[in-house]
Point group: C2
Chain length 427, copies 2
């Protein structure tokens, strides 16, 4: 397991964070050349372990190992794409655990009741093409195929997703749909990406659900003008207004105990001596409750309009001279994901699998948990029984090259996912 994780990190190696040869992160943007190589390796490896391969119209790759009876396979799934400054575990571990499961079944010549499979979903990260869990979103019918095809890269060139699928040879023939590729169930092993398991010295989190999150793009149109000749009071400085918006988004997040983040900001025309007339930035809004995500977005829309008109909001008047304040502010909703509750049958299989592995120590080493990050299991759960298994990761750090889980924890998680699938297959 660890050998394949580290071997395949040659495709898209990221920044170094430590001394050992494997102490580097990953930068394998979806549908890049590096992603193509990782995909090719996935296809070759799962084929050599006795699987049939299906690539669908959004580039999801399904590797299916036949069982005794006809019928939909029980899947282990996750993703091989990473953040631009990502680590070796987010997504990768889940796919590699599935391949490890195939290897164990293959080497031990185990026949399952029904087929089992491993799926590599396209563009889970939403980094290069800014919609997360996109491949599973299309498969589930919740995100339209055409919208996905038309997404443009926000990193490097501005190619469309469809062009990139074609370019790397992963625009498949099979319709991207749960109807063409039905699943009996979907299990996903993942690093927690938060600090809870490590802090409590637990080994496994049995994931109950995933919080809601919406992504928005806000665009501010002000007016380009000269930095040396335009008095503060005559300006419509789009970047100054964006700064107020970003600060204010944090206080609204605090008020609602929600999370709000701006990850991408572009200021144009981008010249030291021109006041930016156009700023575009993203907002990522999250909460366990759908209503809270909606309330945060509503507060922000209202207050951004007030700030854009040059009025204070609460005690936010930190901008010195307000300026001419002739702005147009527009909002786009890029994606919306409601809160997810996982399936009791799958959760029961995972609980039993942890007992298989930990015996007497199960209560001490295993806890229920919910997920702050989105995962392909969110959309899988819309179409088949689904759950997830979390293992600890150091300091809760993720979306960072230094993301790390111990080999022992990776192995324990993989053992739990194998036992969960075998139990579900029996069920």
């Amino acid at each position: 397991l660890m050998e394949t994780i580290h071997y395949t990190s040659r495709w898209g190696t990221g920044a170094r964070w430590g001394e050992r040869p494997t102490d580097t992160g990953m930068s394998r943007l979806t549908l890049s050349d590096a992603d193509k190589e990782a995909r090719d390796w996935f296809v070759d490896t799962t084929r050599s372990l006795g699987c049939h391969i299906t690539v669908d119209a959004i580039g999801n790759i399904f590797a299916v190992r036949p069982g005794k009876k006809e019928g939909p396979a029980t899947f282990v799934g996750s993703h091989l794409d990473t953040q631009p400054t990502g680590g070796r575990y987010d997504g990768v571990l889940g796919v590699q655990a599935g391949i490890e499961m195939l290897r164990v079944l293959h080497e031990n010549e185990i026949q399952t009741e029904y087929a089992v499979g491993v799926v590599n979903w396209t563009n889970e990260e939403g980094a290069r093409f800014p919609v997360s869990m996109m491949g599973s979103g299309v498969w589930s019918g919740f995100f339209p195929l055409e919208d996905a095809y038309n997404l443009r890269s926000v990193i490097g060139n501005q190619a469309t997703l469809r062009e990139e699928l074609e370019r790397i040879g992963y625009l498949g023939q099979t319709p991207a749909s749960y109807e063409s590729m039905p699943m009996a169930a979907h299990f996903e092993l993942h690093i927690e990406q938060g600090p809870a398991l490590e802090a409590e010295r637990r080994k496994i989190g049995v994931v109950q659900g995933v919080q809601a999150y919406n992504w928005f793009t806000v665009e501010i149109q002000g007016k380009d003008s000269h930095t040396g000749t335009t008095p503060l009071a005559n300006r419509s400085d789009a970047l100054l207004l964006a700064s107020k918006f970003i600060l204010h988004s944090h206080r609204i997040a605090t008020k609602h105990s929600a999370l709000v983040t701006t990850g991408i900001l572009t200021a144009l025309p981008g010249s030291t001596n021109t006041i930016p007339g156009l700023v575009r930035f993203t907002l990522d809004v999250r909460s366990p409750k759908n209503e809270t995500v909606e309330a945060v977005a509503a507060d922000l829309k209202r207050d951004f309009a007030t700030l854009a008109s040059g009025q204070d909001v609460g005690d936010l008047h930190a901008g010195g001279t307000a300026g001419r304040n002739e702005f147009k502010v527009s909002w786009t909703t890029d994606s919306a994901t409601s809160a997810t509750v996982f399936h009791e049958d799958c959760i029961r299989c995972v609980r039993e699998a942890t007992s298989d592995v930990f015996g007497d120590r199960t209560k001490e080493l295993v806890r229920d948990i919910s997920s702050g990050a989105g995962h392909d299991s969110v959309y899988a759960s819309r179409r088949c029984p689904t759950t997830m298994i979390f293992i600890p990761c150091r300091d809760g750090v993720s979306h960072n090259p230094a993301e790390y889980s111990t080999p022992e924890d990776c192995a324990l998680g993989t053992q739990v996912v194998l036992n969960s699938v075998l139990r579900y297959d029996k069920l």
Copy 2:
């Protein structure tokens, strides 16, 4: 004059802002293909008007028309490069007025006492390579040639300035120095880029001097992490801190009656669901007084350090939860230009030239003025008697495609510059 201004705008045409064929801005970044074409046109045209051409090691182009006696020429100079979203007048008018002067002398077979010339300075704008008035800065000995050569493009590719000079064929043999290319005087016609002349219905501003300005780059190193799993209190969000800095820079500017602007901001890694761990942004700080520019910079350095450590500054605590606040903040000074006072002899020539043109109405139509923007005349003035002539521009707008001056005002300014040069030549 207007024909050549509009004819040469074919090289680097910018955004449309009105209905008429000439109602578009300019986007002629320094040392781009478009800049090469404008330079080639400048060389051909001035040669055809009887000039000798010298290109120096930083790409400044000097066109000199011999006079009766040997000795340094009196120059008219400005620049043909523009902002990415610039207009048709900033810089261009000054060079075209010089060419118009050459044409008048040539067609009327006028012999001047000494040589007269026109200079096109390299990279006045500092947009693509972020140091303004660079060619004149090197010529004057105030900006080191090697530092200029090593500047990297901040727009498009990251080529060095030296590479781009070579690529377009304008890396000249003559040393870039006032010693190799001495000037008797330097006159520059420019649009005001501010609202004063238009508001008072004046035709000419006799420029007394230029305010001081320094450019800085601030870099904030925080920590990349996951937007969905990192509590607000555990974040080191470099973009949130940058937002506080930008807001605060406006209140410090207000306190000192100075100008502060952020024109360029880059947030990395640039992914919707990764908290930016690295932000770089520019600060352009201006005031008529050198001490004020220094005081603003000192206040900002002090307060940025306080904000970075998670403490409030005054009533700026608008960030909601402060976060983990593990930041490194670094400052670079990219350029520093002290306040400039122009030469009394040149100013007298301009005053007399305005009397030539306006007669009785001089007092009503002409006023003294000082410049908020930097100009090549700032560095020229370090090495020879220098001044500038301003004409009104609509709404004071500049560094914007809709920058506009009337043909009448362009012609009046050009007449004043011609008379000023002839008077200085006699002097």
